[in-house]
Subunit: 338 residues, 4 copies
C-alpha cells in the first residue's frame, strides 16, 4: 500500500482477495504496509489489484517467504528501536549483561556498554537454559531493573521472551523483543511477538538453514510486524574449538535475500572472550548493521556465560573498533545523547 | 519412595530438604515416585533421609540429569499408554497418518495401522510447519476425529501438542502427548506437558546432543511426570540423500544412560518410503522399544509428508517384519484385542 | 560385453569410440566387463555399438557415476576375496586386530575372529594416524605376519594401503586392499589400487556425501577394477557421545544406487565396545552384506583403538548374533573350512 | 637452536637425544631451526640440553603438536615466498585462475591479479576433482605456462600438488606448494612436501577440526620444513546457501595456538562471486595475514569454478578493499615492483 493508504482502502483489498478464495496477510512496518497474498496466483492477477485506491504496487513473489523477501522490497529496511536505528547506513552497538542479576550489576554493565559506544542495552530477565537446574533469570523483577537502568542511563532495552504467556508482560517493559536461538521455530511464540507491537530481534536457530530462518521471520511478519532484525549467532558444526561456528557469510547472503537488517552476536557464537573483538571487526567489515555483545562488571562472578563477557582492556578495544572501523565500510556509529 | 509411601511421608521428605536450603522435585511414574534433590550434597547426606518413613533408597547422582538417569534407576522403565506398554521386554508399533485430514482418511489409516500390527495410533491435529503458508492441522476438530476413530478401531492415541496454551485441550483427548523435534527445547511447553498427567513422547531435536535431549526430558520429569519415552527421529548433518540422518547408535547410548524407553521414527528420519522398512528392521534389531511409522491410504494426496507414508506392499512388508523380527532379539510384539 | 567376449572384440569397441572423439574406460569384474563411454552421447548412439561382436548390451546412464551405478547394472554384484563371497545372498563377518602388533597378538586375534564366525581377517600394517607421533604400523613386517597367520588360520587378508607407493608391496601380500576414510579422495591412490588386480574395500570419507563416495568408487572402477565393496564407517556430526555417527541409512540408499556390496564397520563408527554388538545387529537387519569388527586378545594393551575392540563375552555375543540374525533377513553366514 | 648454530652442534643434540631413547625431529625455517623431542620428558630434562653449544632455549610443550605450536614459539612467524612475505605486519593478496587452461588465459588472469594488488600468483596445473570425468588439469604443461607467466608478470607462483609422485616436478617450477582440502590428511604427501625445500600452503580439510589441521602441519614440519601457511577455506556444515561455511573464527583461534601465518580463501568457501568481496573484508578485519582469490578473464568459459571467479567491477572493488582496509587493522599491503 502507498504511504497514505487508509484503513478502508486496505480493507477493500483484503476483502477482494478473500472473496476470490485467497488469504491476505497484512504487515505494517514503520514506513510501509505490505499485504501478502496466498492462493491461486492466476486468479489474483485477474483481480487487477493495482487499480485499487491506496495500492502502490503489486509484485509476484516466488520465494517461499514473501513479506520479508528482498525480491518483494528491494530497498533495505531500517528498524527503529525507540528512535535508535538499525539499518543500512549506520552501525549500532548493542551491549549489556547476558543476564540481569541485580540492580547494581545491571547498572554497572549498562554504563560500561554506553561508554563503549552502545546505543541499545541488552539484558535477559527470562533465560532459556538447557538444564532445569541452571539459573532461569529473575523474571519480572529483572524487567523492572532493566526499566530503572534505562531511565538512569538512557539506552532503550532489548530483552528476550521465552514463552508466549510472557509476551505481554515483557512487551510492557521492553523496547525490542528478542527471540532466542532455541525458540526460532516456536511458532506460537513467533506469532505472539508478531502481534505485540514492538520491534523483534530474531536469532537464528543454531541448526537452522538460511531459508528456515527467513520462514520464521515470515511468521512474525504475517502477524503484522515487519520491524524485525535478524541475528546471526553461530551454527552447530563438528568444530569444538568454539562454542558454535559463526557463519559470517550469512550476513551478505541475508542481505541479498531479505530487506531486513542483520545483527551479529560475536559473544555467543565463539563463547570465548578473546574472540569477541576479532569477530566484531569481521562483522563490521562484512557489512553487519549491528553487533550484540555481552559485557559484565565482574565476569568471574556472572551467573550466565561469564567466559565470554567483555571487561576492561577488551572493552576498551571494542570501543576503539566501533568508533573507527564502520567508517572504513561507509557507515557511521549510532550514538545516543549522554 | 517405596511403593507404599503416603503423601504425608513424601511431604515430610520434601520439607526436610527445603528446611536444609535445598530444592526437591517430585516425579511420579506409574510404578514409582522419585524425589530429586538439588543443592549442597554434603548437607543432604547429613539429613539421613534413608531413615525417613516411606523412603526406599537414597542415591547420589553425578550426571547433570537426575530423574531420568539410569545411574539413579538401573532397572529399565515401562511406560503404559492407556494400558499399552512401551518397555524392555516388548516391541510396540505406533502407526497412523502424519496429519489428520478427514474422518475417512483417519479411519482408513487407523485400520491399515491396526492390521499391520500397531497397538497405538499416531496422528497430528496441530502441526508445526516451517512455513506459515503450509497446512497447519485441523486443531480441535482433528482431535475429535481421532477420538472417534479410537472408539471405532480400539487404538489409544498419540498426538502432538505444539503450544503450551493447547496442552489442556490436547490432553483431554490424547492418550499420549508428543513433543516434536522443533519444540524439544521449548521449556515452557515441556513444563506444561510435565504437569498434564499424560504420558509424553519426547522427540529429539534435530540438532540436539544426547545430553541436551536428556536435559529436556528432565524438564518434563521435574514437573512430576516420569512416563516419558524418547524418540530418535534423525539429526541434521551434511548428507542430503536422506532428509535427516537416523542416529541408530542413539538407541543403545540412551539405554546405557537412561531408564526411559526409546522409540525410533524411520519415516521422518529418512523422508523416503523405500527406507522405512529397512530402517524399521535396523531399529528393532538395535534394541528400540517401539517404532512410529507414517501410513496413509492415499500418500499421493497427503497434506503432509506423503512421500514417506507406507501403503500396500510396503505396509505388508512392515507387518511381516514386526511379527517376526522382535523375537530374534528377545521381544514380543504388543497386540491389542480386535 | 558378454561373458564370452574376446580381447579383440573389446578392442574394436574401444577404438570405435575413440575414433568418434570419445573416451572409453574398461572395467573388468570377475563376472563381467563394462566399458564406460564419456563424450557426445548423440554421436555414440549413431555408432550402433550393440551390433558389434561380443557386446551384450548398451545402456545410457545419467548418474554422474557410471560403472558403479545400479542404473547401469541392476543385478547386485558379489565380490569374491580369494573365494570368500561378499554379496546379496550371504552375510560375511570380517574381523581382526585394528593394527598388527606382533605375531602372537595377530595369531590370537585371528583365532578369536575365526571362532566367532569370521571368513576374512582384517589387520593393519600401515596405519594412517592423525598425529605424526602415534604408532604408524609395522609396514612390510606387518604384512609378513599377516601372511603367516593366514597360512596358519586359513582366512584371507584385508589390509589397508595408505600411499600409492606401497600399493604393489601391499597387493603382493593382501587378498583385499582397504582404502581408509582419510584417503577416500586421494585420487592417485584410488587409481593405483584400481590397477592392482585385487578386490578393494573403499571406506566412506567421514565427511563424504553418498555421491562423493560413489565418485571415489568410480575412480577405482575406471582403472579396470569393479571388485569393490563400499564400507560405511560413520560420518562426522555435532554429536560427541559416539566417535562418529553411523549412517545406517547409507546401506539401503547405496543398494538403491549401486550394484556394489556394502559393508558396515560398527567398531570405528561408535568407538565404544558396548555399541559394537547392537550396531552389528542393526547392520545385519538393515541389509548389510558384511560387517568388519575389531577384535584383540588384550584390548587394554592395544596400540590402536583398544577401547572398541571385542574380547570375551562381547565376542561370544557377536558370534551368536552372526549365526542367528542373518537368517531372519534371508541370508546365510559365510563360513570357511576349519 | 640459536641463529648461528652449526650442523655439528645440531647433530650433537640429536645424537644425545637418540642415545637417551628418544626421537628428535629437526625443522628448519628461514629464521630458526627447531628440534622436536618425543619420548620420556623426565629423562630429557636430565640431559641438560640447554648447556649444549648452539642451543638457544629448551621448552616443554604439552600440546599434541609441538613444532607448529605457539606455546613453543610465541613470536608470530613470517613465511617468505621467493621474497614475498606472509606474516603478522603485512597483508598479502594471492590471486589467479583456479586452473591453468591456456597461456593466454593465465597471462590475462595474472595481469588482472597484479593490477588488483596481488603479490603472488595462484593457479592449478594438477586438479583434484571429485569426478574422474571432470577436467583434471594440464599437468606439467600447466607448470610451464605458469613459469612463463611468472617471468612476464613478475609474481611468484603458488600451485597445488596432489600426489607424492609429483612433488619433485611441481617443486621444480613452484615458489610455494599448495596442499588442497581433500589431501590435508594424505600423510605421505605431507611428508613429501615437508622434504621438498619450498614453502607450503596447507588448506584445511573441509571436515577437519582445528587440532587435526595443526597435526597435519606438524607432519610437514617434522620433515624439516617450518615455512608453512595455514589456509582456512570453509568447512562442511548443514547449510547449503553457500558451498561451504567459512569458519572466520578459525583465524584468531589459530593465531592463539600456532605461530604460523593464516590465509583465508573467500572464493572456495562461499562458491559465489557476490560473496568474495564481503568475505575478503571480513578476513582482513579478523586478522588474516593473506587472502587467496580466484580471478578469470572470462568466468563463463572457465573449466573450473567459474561461478566464483572475480572479473571487472567486482575485481575493482577487491582492489579498493585491499588498498584501504588493511591499514584500518594496522597492516600494510605487500606490493611487488611493476
Amino acid at each position: 500500500m502507498g504511504p497514505g493508504a487508509t484503513a478502508e482502502e486496505l480493507d477493500a483489498v483484503v476483502q477482494t482477495v478473500q472473496a476470490a478464495g485467497g488469504s491476505a496477510f497484512v504487515s505494517r512496518g514503520v514506513h510501509r504496509t505490505i499485504v501478502g497474498l496466498v492462493g491461486d496466483v492466476e486468479q489474483f492477477e485477474s483481480l487487477n489489484l493495482k487499480a485499487y485506491p491506496g495500492v502502490a504496487d503489486v509484485v509476484r513473489i516466488s520465494a517461499p517467504y514473501k513479506l520479508v523477501s528482498r525480491e518483494n522490497h528491494p530497498a533495505m529496511s531500517t528498524v527503529y528501536v525507540s528512535g535508535v536505528p538499525i539499518g543500512p547506513d549506520t552501525f549500532t552497538l548493542i551491549a549489556g549483561p547476558c543476564a540481569v542479576e541485580s540492580p547494581e550489576q545491571t547498572l554497572a554493565a549498562a554504563q560500561m556498554a554506553k561508554s563503549a559506544g552502545a546505543a541499545l542495552l541488552r539484558g535477559g530477565a527470562y533465560k532459556p537454559r538447557t538444564s532445569p537446574y541452571a539459573f532461569q533469570g529473575l523474571g519480572e523483577k529483572g524487567l523492572q531493573i532493566l526499566a530503572e537502568v534505562r531511565t538512569e542511563v538512557g539506552l532503550p532495552i532489548v530483552t528476550e521472551v521465552v514463552d508466549a504467556h510472557d509476551v505481554d508482560i515483557v512487551a510492557s517493559y521492553a523496547d525490542m523483543l528478542q527471540i532466542g536461538t532455541r525458540n526460532m521455530q516456536n511458532f506460537g511464540l513467533l506469532q505472539a511477538v508478531g502481534s505485540a507491537g514492538k520491534p523483534v530481534m530474531l536469532k537464528r536457530g543454531m541448526n537452522a538453514t538460511i531459508e528456515e530462518w527467513l520462514m520464521a521471520a515470515e511468521y512474525v511478519a504475517q502477524r503484522g510486524n515487519l520491524d524485525i532484525v535478524l541475528c546471526e549467532r553461530g551454527i552447530r558444526t563438528f568444530e569444538t574449538a568454539t562454542r558454535n561456528t559463526l557463519d559470517i557469510s550469512a550476513v551478505p547472503v541475508m542481505h541479498s535475500l531479505s530487506h531486513l537488517p542483520v545483527v551479529v552476536d560475536p559473544s555467543h557464537s565463539g563463547g570465548r572472550r578473546d574472540l569477541v573483538v576479532p569477530l566484531s571487526r569481521a562483522a563490521i567489515a562484512v557489512g553487519a548493521d549491528a553487533i550484540i555483545v555481552d559485557v559484565h562488571p565482574d565476569p568471574g562472578a556472572a551467573l550466565c556465560d561469564g567466559p565470554q563477557a567483555l571487561v576492561d582492556t577488551d572493552l576498551d578495544e571494542l570501543a576503539h573498533v566501533v568508533r573507527t572501523l564502520p567508517q572504513a565500510v561507509g557507515r557511521s556509529l549510532v550514538l545516543v545523547d549522554s
